[in-house]
Amino acid sequence: MGGWGFVAAAYGIVWGVIVVYLFTLKRRYNQAAAECDQLGPSEAAAGDEKK
């Protein structure tokens, strides 16, 4: 591999991994948000909104 080969490997892996992590993070986020909405607002939050 020439110089650029290593650079490509490094940048590719790093940003690839970050993107993958970001996607898994977003998936966890959406799952949690869905479950939160499903369970409905808590009495405490309902009290907050009234304020």
Binding site: A10, Y11, V14, A32, E35, L39
Partner: protein, 235 residues
């Protein structure tokens, strides 16, 4: 969604947008504008990833330390959530640092790995915080896990200077006579645009980090809410 949540989400979105812009900008500077190094050639560009990565990792572990300390002191769940989130991100960036270092090392020193001070230290760091994550996941009771992890978070961070000292001494006192000196960064002539590339890269990584942290933190927060809601509903 409450008004607070909505504005938090919007701020996160803006942060994400800024991060993306900075990343694109830094890619351009690092790969196009900055000149290749006189000695290392193009491979030196990996440093624009490597240095910010390790600094971000240390920042992360510092946050683990702070979160752990605050949690043990005040027992507010949000500090524990912060510590956990920061540990996860810390492991991510430490692993990336090692990969970057290894890829940089192959053309520079001719080997994929060497037990020089920097690489060894980064590997130890990774082991410590992987241990942290394992500890958290292997303790059933969440509150116990939080306290145990917080103690480990503090002890681990306190140990880091000692580990630094011992590994550096180990490496410098027994330096075999060789042409290559993996301990020193072979940066002879630092071109100004290289510094700019580095700075932009660092800013990009920083923004990215805080974006990821806020996302991860929110996930942790929601998990707590889910637990509380389940308790309320008697599920």
């Amino acid at each position: 969604m409450t008004k607070q949540r909505q504005s938090a989400k919007k701020r996160r979105g803006i942060l994400g947008g800024l991060a993306l812009t900075a990343i694109l900008f830094s890619l351009y500077w690092s790969l196009v504008i900055a000149p290749p190094d006189a000695y290392q050639g193009e491979v030196q560009r990996i440093m624009y990833l490597h240095l910010p990565s390790i600094l971000i990792a240390y920042l992360s572990y510092f946050l683990v330390f702070i979160g752990s300390g605050l949690y043990l002191w005040k027992r507010e769940k949000r500090d524990d959530i912060l510590a956990y989130a920061a540990a996860e991100l810390g492991v991510l960036f430490t692993a990336l640092t090692i990969v970057e270092g290894s890829i940089w090392g192959r053309p520079t020193w001719g080997v994929w790995w060497t037990w020089d001070a920097r690489l060894t230290l980064t590997a130890i760091l990774l082991l410590i915080y992987v241990g942290y994550l394992m500890l958290r996941s292997l303790i059933e009771d969440e509150n116990r896990a939080a306290v145990a992890a917080a103690v480990l978070g503090i002890i681990g961070f306190l140990d880091i200077p000692l580990i630094h000292m011992s590994v550096y001494w180990w490496r410098t006192l027994h330096q075999p006579p060789s042409i290559l000196r993996p301990d020193k960064l072979p940066w002879e002539n630092v071109h100004p645009s290289m510094l700019t590339a580095l700075t932009i890269s660092f800013v990009a990584f920083l923004l990215l980090y805080f974006y990821l942290l806020s996302l991860r933190y929110r996930v942790g927060e929601m998990r707590q809410e889910i637990k509380a809601l389940r308790l309320e509903r008697g599920i």
